[in-house]
Amino acid sequence: MRLALAALLSGCVIASRSLTPPPNDVTTVALLTGTLGPPMDGIARHPWFAVRKQGETRWTVYEVGGGGTEEDPFRHHEYYGHPILHKVWRGDEADRAAACLEREAEPWIGRLHYRFYPGPNSNTFGDVMLRKCGLHASLPATSVGKDWRGVLGANVTTEGTGIQLETPILGVRLGIKEGFELHILGLAVGIDLWPPAIIVPLGPGRLGFADR
């Protein structure tokens, strides 16, 4: 209770993941987001997947508008600030994820008719890859465009424990872990049940515990 209150008062996220890259003893796939440049840095984030196969020293990055290999995409990813690590997959699960991203990312980006707002954009890419590859994680509320489904769309959430119905004007996400999230013109507000947090369309996208 005290921790939750402290989070609310300080406006920060409790128990954020460390940005130290894991060892290369097994394959690793990570989902990260970073802020856009000013003045959008408080309200908009951009996602990238970092993939490093067992024994490799460099990371392969999958994202819209970038990509290639990098030494440390956890702490230094060009053009994007204040990175947040949302999820890490390791071992066999990461091998499957790496193969899926290698197969699915480039063709999807090639077909993308990019629209900065409301989507499809880089956050739509992040959400689509999570679902296509069966990776259970959530992009933050400030990843505007993650809920873009065209005129009308419905699906199981990326966390896998909820459902989502979306139009460009109004959308809703309901789930056991996800809680309740209302989307108005692409902006998200709501309550995340696990880990507990208030979902806000600002900063890291939540007030409370970091997502898991």
């Binding site: 003045p39 309200i43 108005i184």
Partner: protein, 241 residues
Amino acid sequence: MKALIILGVLAVSSSAHAERWQRMMDRVQGGAFLHYELTGLEAIDEPGPTQTPNEMVLAGARLHGFLGKGASVAYHIGADLFAGSTLRGAGFAYDVALFPVGIVVRFGKTSIIGFSAGVGAIGAVGTIDDAVTVPVEAIAEIGNAWRLLARARVAYVAGADSRQSAAPSIPFADELDAMLGLRFGHHYDDHGFPTGNGYFLGVSYRELAGTKFAGFTIGYSIDMAMPRRFTGNDNHDGHDE
């Protein structure tokens, strides 16, 4: 060879598109501001003759833009979308407005003072009758990193008898809504465009359904603009500030 032709066509069309965009950018200049706001209001006098709420919380966004040929005067449009609740009545409340007509005077880098008019709707389940409104609003956004944010709106109500002439302080309109805030933020001049952002704190005042409300607003504001270019249409010596 076919690929080369396609690439060539794409390059030419892309270049043409860029040129069109550049020509448009040369002809007009403008800017925009976005607010995320959370406002809590409490009744400060006895409720009016109708069943009015004692408290009201509204959260939402304001997105406004302005565009003109000159550096000092621009056409202004905007949209405000807010939803919330009348706390103890626990009724869903909403306050939305579109401003298709407006004018702003620009000064400084991104500062503006202006007026706009439009159409809106306000209501709350169980406490405030739903009604269409015709709001007329004056706005001011002055400063850069530290920025004064001010807004005053009077509204004429159609469709709810209980809300006619229901702003005690102003005989000429049915409702009044005002906010005065100060942003403590940042100013940027990256890539040749003046922009700014940051959190703000403000005081709010409202007269609605015969009751006066006062409270606080917290929010986040972003402003951005094209650099002001003085042309022959502007009464100025030809240089930006």
